[in-house]
């Protein structure tokens, strides 16, 4: 069993996508309940630091039946604008996936 270092190591999939033009949403599909429990630390301040957004705008949904944590917040950069480097917001899960988890 390889050492667990990041959220990605605990997950089947970590993904991000637009939820309409003004929101981005991300999901962590954990492998099991143990993994789900290990990322209980993931709260609005942690996500706010990771993505440089206002913690008050972050919505976090925990779905124990699926071992899923879902995070939504307003898109920091307007979709398709000069500084939008990810039109579909499809690669913005990476900072979340690479977030270290404590042993």
């Amino acid at each position: 069993m390889p050492e667990t270092r990041t959220i990605a190591d605990l997950a089947l999939e970590v993904r991000s996508k637009n939820a309409g033009p003004f929101w981005v949403t991300m999901e962590v599909f954990l492998r099991d309940r143990a993994g789900y429990d290990r990322i209980a630390f993931l709260d609005a301040p942690v996500v706010a630091r990771l993505y440089g957004v206002d913690p008050a705008t972050i919505q976090i949904f925990r779905i124990p039946a699926l071992n899923v944590v879902k995070i939504s917040f307003p898109r920091p950069v307007s979709q398709g604008s000069l500084r939008d480097r990810d039109i579909h917001a499809g690669q913005h899960h990476v900072p979340l996936a690479q977030l270290p988890v404590s042993a």
């Binding site: 996508k17 939820a19 309409g20 003004f22 779905i63 604008s81 990476v94 900072p95």
Partner: protein
């Protein structure tokens, strides 16, 4: 009573195995519903009123679906025609459909539903912001090149009741196209709307999303979902997880007529590939609302792209990029007399930190870097002039410690690509309406129509 909704693919023009639709008809499909658009690919498509999909790809899918609808004598409903659902998008899909009907000798009645709105026709007093946006400035509304209203099921039902075999709708909620026929037949809204959300992306709710679409069988108490490909599976996990996809809130979703609530829904495997869903609710809203989408031109863009392979420069790529940014400002001011407010640019280092920029967690030295310069200005000539003035820097800029001029790797000649107008979405608002069909215009196309 049961109504079976066949969704062959998540997007008209994305393609699907023809035999999956045949299979859906054998299973007794009562309607074919397919989405033709999305805002997901950005504001260009609504702003310009053009489609993301290729006409040949839309024709390829439509041909199979029109044949299927004609053979089974069931309606075909396409939503958000032409990517953004503008009137031009509806007309574009209708033109393709009519060519196919004529070529195949199919006698189907087409109704089109236009959803485009004129700024002057909307009552600004009745428009409210949706989070995270603020109140709407009338000037913003007037600045839009195109505005569409997102219809619910009601205009589609009206078109079906008017005798249409094929309904080509402008901007519609992803769910409305699948919900229309079951609601028209009198099935309860809880199961209908939840089923409509689950089928909206075709095979996305299955274990193999690339194997074609799905069939939902809706009844009084719930619905059963199964993939069209006999080798593919829906599991309670894949079906429940689909409520997460591209939604802000996984427990509830607003439609024009009310809110879908799935927090108490249960997902039960009937066998290894079919799932039964019960317990979904629909809470009618006190006020019917139509969501508006609008896009406007922000300016014009010109792109230039070069690339670096030299390890010496790559070893100090941040220093090189900072120098380039500084010199762009100096050269453009000196040669064109333009200051910060006259143009804007974004410099992206692909292969290093372009995608995540400030939040990039890993800044290991890259092996090669693509350098994209995107220039934005009020007109195309200015944007291109800036890119051209900067061109010698993108070709020869050294790092401060180099005593010679490198030549970097442009991938194209000419180096600059004019991107035309740049757009932004500016409406994230909903308008209160007295009638769910008031903002939409239904036209039945006659065989003699041009």
């Amino acid at each position: 009573m049961e109504v079976r909704v066949l969704t062959p693919t998540g997007m008209l023009g994305a393609g699907f195995p023809p035999e999956t639709v045949t299979r859906g008809l054998e299973l007794g499909a009562d309607v074919i519903a397919v989405d033709g658009g999305s805002t997901d690919s950005g504001p260009h498509y609504l702003g310009s009123g053009t489609a993301k999909t290729a006409a040949a790809a839309v024709a390829q899918d439509l041909r199979l679906l029109l044949r299927a609808a004609a053979n089974a004598r069931i309606p075909l409903i396409v939503g958000s025609c032409g990517t953004s659902g503008t009137d031009s998008g509806v007309d574009w899909v209708a033109g393709i459909a009519r060519e196919i009907l004529a070529a195949e000798g199919l006698d189907l009645r087409i109704a089109v539903i236009y959803s485009e709105q004129q700024a002057a026709g909307l009552d600004i007093e009745r428009i409210r912001p949706l989070p995270p946006s603020g109140p709407l400035d009338p000037a913003t509304l007037e600045s839009c090149t195109h505005i569409v209203g997102m219809m619910g099921h009601e205009p589609i039902v009206a078109a079906l009741e008017g005798g249409a075999d094929v309904v080509l709708a402008g901007r519609a909620t992803d769910t409305a196209i699948a919900a229309a026929l079951p609601l028209m037949k009198g099935l309860p809204p809880g199961p209908v709307w939840h089923a409509a959300k689950i089928v909206e992306c075709g095979g996305q709710c299955t274990t193999n999303p690339r194997a074609g679409g799905v069939l939902a069988t809706i009844d009084q108490d719930g619905f059963t979902i199964e993939p069209l490909d006999p080798g593919n599976s829906c599991t309670p996990y894949t079906v429940a997880a689909h409520m997460l996809y591209e939604t802000v809130n996984p427990h509830s979703m607003r439609e024009p007529a009310g809110t879908i609530v799935v927090s108490d829904a249960t997902y039960t495997a009937l066998d290894d590939r079919r799932v039964r869903v019960e317990g979904s609710r629909f809470e009618p809203a006190a006020q019917h609302t139509i969501k508006l989408e609008g896009a406007r031109i922000t300016g014009y863009e010109t792109m230039s792209f070069t690339a670096i392979r030299d390890p010496h420069i790559l070893g100090q790529i941040d220093t090189w990029a900072a120098l380039l940014r500084k010199m762009i400002g100096e050269w453009v001011a000196r040669t064109l007399g333009l200051g910060d407010g006259d143009y804007d640019f974004d410099l992206r280092l692909y292969g290093y930190d372009a995608i995540l920029d400030d939040i990039e967690p890993d800044r290991s030295p890259p092996k090669e870097v693509g350098v994209m310069l995107l220039v934005h200005a009020a007109d195309q000539q200015t944007a291109t002039a800036v890119a051209k003035v900067v061109n010698p820097l993108m070709l020869h800029l050294p790092t401060p410690d180099m005593n010679y001029l490198p030549s970097l790797a442009f991938p194209t000649s000419p180096a600059e690509t004019e991107r035309g107008p740049a757009y932004e979405f500016v409406l994230n608002h909903a308008v209160d309406v007295d009638s769910p069909t008031a903002l939409f215009r239904i036209h039945r196309l006659e065989a003699t129509d041009a």
